[in-house]
Symmetry: C2
Subunit: 427 residues, 2 copies
């Protein structure tokens, strides 16, 4: 992509009202724009990051045997009345009436819809187990939307749901998703902890884990034991009164450490709460009607983009992990009037693109200072500068994470980047 | 994918209330399920078709230089008041109030949002032209939703918007999109016509074309001239009173032919209607404030799936064009108890998947009649039957579109399918 044509404007001023680094940087670098409180447009750069995350999620859901579908955002309110959640959710549930005065909710999550769907489709025990997922825009009318993408009113979510006929099956489905989540967050470059959690308003009695990206700016507090590995959200009653240094409630030996984090994923064993409420019944091997056992598994896709940034930035801007960077390589032409610089840059641009590598070429007619400041802000993993060495057919290569600079020929630079990117960044 | 695990149920009964072939077949074959009037879940098979269409659209938008982003579904109602469309849209526009009593619309289209966005971002003539697009769930409260995916209340749409500084630029941007649309519909296997159209409620004065898939079940009527190639929607005033055989209003020589069709795409030259109303101004080379010239370009992605089916089905079921089929190959094991049949099928399944080909393997414990009826209903392009010839290491290969049957060895069958699919079906 030629940056002269890219629909992205970097801001010179610090954005007002952006407390967190992720919020500030996403606005400043032109990755997102706010339309209303907690409601954002994902600009081309932001959209590309979401796509990278979505690809990783798709691959891992597929590997875990989950099947993708797409459910509606508009949900008849009766479904929420049937489960009792219309009341529990309160004003966070966005409601509306259609022209015939029928009531709908704008889905913040889809337990009711999918339990009803699976109840209609799978009427014999032979058809189980199944795990289904979607990646979809969700709606939640937060009282006080804030922190940019961390607490929005319209957001992208991956929600998966498993259905089994017995407790062991649910345990296996849950474990498969748990492991898929570990792979997803690791691949996204996150430092995270999986901690025991409170099931909250979603209900269910079978256990629940939160995946928490460690960050001082997070709203969650987790307690972890250095001796036995126990970790839990402090909302959980048995650790809710601790403070740092208290004895671990599991092993009674280690001391608890507290740290802050951002919830990026949550897995729940729901049991029969929704399948019973929605009448999602199947016939077992003896011809008896039974409610299937359900699990649900969520990842905030847009929130994950912000959480990655909370962990990966420096004083100058973003520092994207390779797997989720909007482009792998940033080629900067220092002086666009210099034919030799343009030629070196264009040759590299074509060579790298021929290898299926995502490249952003800064071909703008701007001062070098502006270009370098923007490159620091955008934070792509590999940077190649076509500048003073171009006369001799060379460029400067900088790996963003290490900051190490090398002067290389065009062929050397191309080979270096291809070796480090491989085909991982192919579209 | 193993069909024993696929979340899809074929119906034995004809679905009630489904007048059109596409609606009936999508329900019967388990591609979609209705949640409420005009509101559908895309089941895994239906979702896969949408993904194939989306890939084609993405490739052609990319080739035309359009950049992808994602705008919110929740739009402040003031934007619609600013353009005057709140009134024009009437009850089809779904409105809601948030917990702070602020009014929002659920986006049926995004002219206001994007004009406002571009006005904020691009303040100099040097930043133009730009074409942006998104693929997103849209909402329209149809008075009488019907015909399945053809007239729904929640649907998937690709909407693109171009911004230029002069009329010639708008003409070029429009032409590029027009040509991209031709490629998209051709690749989806549609027999279509691009016809002159009425701009309707969306407004603008610069011209408009509809892309209409020819179909007796369509709601649009188009008139075309066999002599000069003129074609128009009969809603357009200058052909609104014709009937078959009338003289062409363009060349005055040829006779007009009428036929029915389904609108699958629509392109508009909007001019400054929205950019003026939303104050989307830039500074020209002389430092004067001007409103940019806008074009908008829509494709109903979910409607397109139905339109393809209206043209591609037979008495037994669907007949998917290769480019948009949910799977390229259907391997049917006639008798799952037969070890030799299973072995032949599994070998082929692995060989084809290793070539990146999407394969559905019918490994269900069902009667042969059920399996063949379902295979006819699902309508995948290539079918391979592991049946009575399996004992001799052979299978029966059937190309669905021609119906020609051949007995081939496993290696021959694999080679045949690979040659015909190439890598086009790779994930």
């Amino acid at each position: 992509m030629r940056q002269s044509q890219l629909f992205a404007t970097t801001l010179r001023e610090e954005p007002a009202d952006a407390e967190l680094a992720s919020h500030r940087l996403l606005l400043k670098a032109g990755y997102i724009r706010q339309l209303a409180g907690g409601i954002y447009t994902y600009m081309p750069l932001g959209w590309r990051v979401l796509q990278k995350i979505e690809s990783i999620v798709n691959e891992e859901m597929d590997r875990a045997g989950a099947q993708r579908l797409l459910m509606p955002a508009l949900q008849p309110l009766e479904l929420w009345q049937a489960s009792g959640r219309e009341r529990d959710y309160g004003p966070e549930l966005i409601r509306l009436r259609d022209r015939h005065d029928r009531e709908f909710a704008l889905g913040p999550t889809h337990e009711e819809v999918i339990a009803s769907l699976v109840g209609n489709e799978l009427q014999s025990y032979r058809r189980f187990p199944v795990t289904l997922y979607q990646i979809q825009t969700k709606f939640r009318d937060e009282r006080r939307p804030r922190y940019g993408l961390l607490r929005g009113r319209e957001f992208l979510m991956k929600d998966a749901y498993s259905f089994d006929t017995d407790r062991e099956g649910l345990d296996r489905s849950y474990q498969r998703m748990y492991e898929a989540y570990e792979r997803i967050f690791t691949r996204c470059g996150l430092d995270y902890r999986a901690v025991e959690a409170d099931a909250g308003a979603i209900g269910g009695d079978g256990g629940s884990h939160e995946f928490v990206a460690l960050s001082e700016s997070g709203e969650d507090t987790i307690a972890s034991c250095s001796a036995c590995g126990y970790a839990a959200n402090v909302e959980l009653s048995d650790v809710s009164h601790t403070a740092t240094g208290d004895a671990c409630p599991r092993c009674m030996e280690g001391g608890l450490q507290l740290c802050k984090g951002i919830e990026v994923g949550h897995v729940f064993k729901l049991g029969t709460k929704y399948t019973e409420a929605l009448g999602a019944l199947y016939l077992d091997a003896n011809g008896r009607e039974r409610a299937s056992l359900m699990g649900c598994y969520g990842i905030g896709i847009s929130r994950l983009m912000a959480a990655v940034l909370e962990q990966h930035h420096d004083a100058s801007g973003m520092v994207w992990p390779a797997a989720v960077a909007p482009y792998a390589v940033h080629i900067v032409i220092v002086a666009i009037q210099d034919a030799r610089q343009r030629e070196c840059a264009e040759r590299l641009y074509e060579q790298l693109r021929a290898h299926g590598i995502d490249v952003l070429l800064d071909d703008r007619d701007e001062r070098a200072g502006v270009k370098f400041r923007d490159a620091d802000l955008l934070g792509l993993p590999h940077r190649i500068v076509a500048g003073k060495h171009a006369q001799a057919g060379s460029v400067e290569y900088v790996a963003h994470s290490s900051g190490i600079r090398e002067v290389l020929t065009i062929e050397e630079a191309a080979a270096r980047v291809v070796a480090r990117c491989g085909r991982r960044f192919a579209p």
